[in-house]
């Protein structure tokens, strides 16, 4: 418990620092916020335009497609807001700053992943969540209290999967130093979760459920919320999540063993 309190204190401090930086660069952050809002609205506009032309997409109604998109948005923005520091990890390896993190009495992964929370994304979460809740209330869906609770559980499960995938990214970055390409590859693959991954080609669908489990992150939670047939059973979802997390930590430890600290 005391250990957790220490981690909370450290995160609060880095969060406060990020907030101060955000307030110093108010103009820039306002533009970022506008940009994210615009992108969100454009994606919704696309779904509304499709609604006028087709009644179902891959077996899902247009209202259900909106739920898949909103679920993706919620999980993606939340995970990005917390784990944004990963984007800077490449430069931390290059400059040797990683060595300073390794000698601290904290798990180095904690600061590598969470050091600079993205204030823009955190701020964007509020209007986005309110807007999404309003939008959901206008759709013809059959959401039950049980499906809402299960959705909350799978939302946390989705964040754990995002965490595991980010650990894989930083583990790769320790070995190859270059991280930008890997992060953008992750972003591009994650973007496939904007739509239910069941609509994709079978090989891609399997990869998105079992290899890079974006489908478990975004599609299954939405399916639970909608009370539709699950593509992967819940116990299997939790098993894959646990296995992905364990594998990512093992890979991170393996990468650290190979790390020679050559740059510092």
């Amino acid at each position: 418990m005391q250990r957790l309190a220490i981690y909370w204190r450290v995160w609060k401090m880095s969060g406060t620092n990020a907030l101060q930086v955000a307030f110093v660069n108010r103009g820039t952050n306002l533009f970022f916020l506008l940009g994210k809002s615009f992108r969100f609205l454009i994606s919704l506009l696309f779904l509304l335009l499709i609604k006028e032309q087709v009644t179902t997409v891959g077996g899902y109604t247009n209202d259900e497609m909106v739920v898949f998109f909103l679920t993706y948005q919620l999980i993606d923005v939340t995970s990005q807001s917390i784990l944004r520091n990963v984007y800077q990890f490449g430069s931390q390896v290059k400059s040797g700053e990683l060595d300073f993190l390794l000698i601290k009495p904290l798990n180095p992964l904690f600061r590598i992943l969470t050091d600079k929370p993205d204030i823009n994304d955190l701020l964007f979460l509020f209007p986005m969540t309110i807007g999404s809740a309003y939008l959901l209330s206008t759709l013809s869906l059959s959401i039950t209290p049980l499906s809402a609770v299960l959705f909350a559980v799978l939302f946390i499960n989705g964040l754990i999967l995002a965490l595991a995938l980010h650990i894989f990214i930083v583990a790769i970055a320790v070995s190859i130093v270059e991280i930008e390409g890997v992060v953008w590859l992750y972003r591009d693959i994650t973007a496939l979760g904007r739509f239910p991954v069941t609509i994709y080609h079978e090989s891609l669908r399997l990869a998105l459920f079992f290899l890079v489990p974006i489908g478990l992150m975004t599609t299954v939670p939405a399916q639970v919320l909608l009370n539709t047939k699950l593509s992967v059973s819940l116990p299997l979802v939790f098993v894959i999540t646990g296995a992905t997390l364990i594998l990512s930590v093992l890979f991170w430890k393996y990468s650290l063993k190979k790390y020679s600290s050559a740059s510092s």
Binding site: G27, T28, G35, K36, R39, F46, Q53, A191
Partner: protein, 229 residues
Amino acid sequence: MALSVWSVLFVNQETLFSYNRAEMISYIFVAALLQGLILATSLHGLAQRVYSGEISSLLLKPMSLFSYLAIEEVADKARNVLATIIESGILLVLFQPQIVMPSSGALILFLLWTCGGVLLNFLFSLLFGTLGFWSPETWGPKFLFFIFLDFSAGKLFPLNILPVWLQTMLSFTPFPYLTFMQTQLFLDKVPVGDLLKHSFLILFWVALLALLNSLLWKRGFKSYAAQGQ
């Protein structure tokens, strides 16, 4: 993703938003190629380079700053296009989609309009670079512009699926000439009578942006100090 999504949308439809399946698939491939050729740029950080004074060393070189930046841009585009060709090639082999090909005349004009698009985006990048003369907050406006450009250039989806009033508004801007109009020409969706008008409009936007750049860069250099560089 676009390929998969549109393929699913066309499962039970012959045409969608006045596109048939082959036309839409062609749109996706051509837009992807133009994304690497027109929209991708190496000058994202130009404003920051100006603000930090990094361009001082470039100003001392025996070639103009804009020539140097243009060469950087061409090299970056060559790399992007190569990557896009490899990526598209793999997708073409895997999915073997039906691609619509334009006539040779349309193809020549397509290449000219693409050059116009490249020039337009280069001028936009230079324009954003001038922000660095007066403000350290350079990334925010550029980010918002990128997001808007992805939409208004037709990278995300064809602009003619939008409501007519929105299409009309966008037609008064240079953004459709940064991908959308080139794809329409490729797909033979531009009336022959309008070809000259659009060609002149590209030239008009290039001239206007070049003039604006000239004014702003001159004014910017007057206030440029770069102490400590």
